[in-house]
Subunit: 144 residues, 2 copies
């Protein structure tokens, strides 16, 4: 199995954890010094917050449905003990108290380091662009 397959498996395991609402699994791959740039403020998230499954659990509990999740245009680069990946991801879920699911396409970059033979997430960057039409609203309506 190539190293690229190892990374692909890790990403698929993380996608499965998101679909299953498994908060522990979602934080298990992070390195202690992880820096995460997420969809929500502040600019950067670090330990202990990022490593705490409670925050993920609270976020998952804000939906009345399971999270549907799709990854497109994934590209993986690996050399030595470093890897980086980027993709366009779709997330759909029904917010608590609503009838209809929202659907959001966003950009995702995941950077990994192999530590003691195990690939771990060192950095994660999820985002949407924003409209430059003077509204400065997040561009939540884009599709690949």
């Amino acid at each position: 199995m190539s190293e690229s397959d190892d990374i692909r498996e890790l990403l698929e395991r993380r996608a499965a954890a998101l679909r299953a609402g498994d908060a522990e699994r979602l934080v298990a791959d992070y390195l202690p010094d992880v820096v995460a740039f997420t969809l929500a403020p502040p600019l950067a998230h670090t330990a202990p917050e990022v490593l705490d499954p409670e925050a993920k659990r609270a976020w998952l509990a804000s939906f009345d449905s399971a999270v549907d999740f799709e990854v497109r245009d994934l590209r993986i680069s690996v050399d030595g003990d470093l890897a980086f990946c980027h993709s366009l991801n779709r997330m759909s879920a029904v917010p608590r108290g609503r009838q209809e699911p929202f659907t959001l396409w966003y950009r995702s970059t995941v950077c990994l380091r192999r530590v003691d033979g195990v690939w771990r997430v060192a950095h994660e960057h999820d985002s949407t662009p924003f409209h430059m039409d003077g509204s400065f609203s997040a561009a939540l309506d884009l599709t690949p």
Copy 2:
């Protein structure tokens, strides 16, 4: 000189090019297969658009001042022929026709590959988060 110093130098050269308004220099480090996730839509930018200095020139021409640029919390990881970096960046400039500069802090991830002994940019991801208060406005008011 360590490889991390090589990367730091490349990033500093790019910062200097931005401050100097040097559009050619800004696109010179990109690999032909670069995928850029930028502050503005669409979700992803690829060649030939990203490699065209004309687009950068038009963007730089939308300011009445030079671009002031600062990089904070830069972390660089290098192994073999891969590297990834992330930082919080501040950009300030006076939009054309305005009196006052705007200032924007955003997150930046730069992923590099060494090709024929030269470090090149394979992937770039710049973004702001957005407010989850129902306004869905880009969070342009954040500071590190």
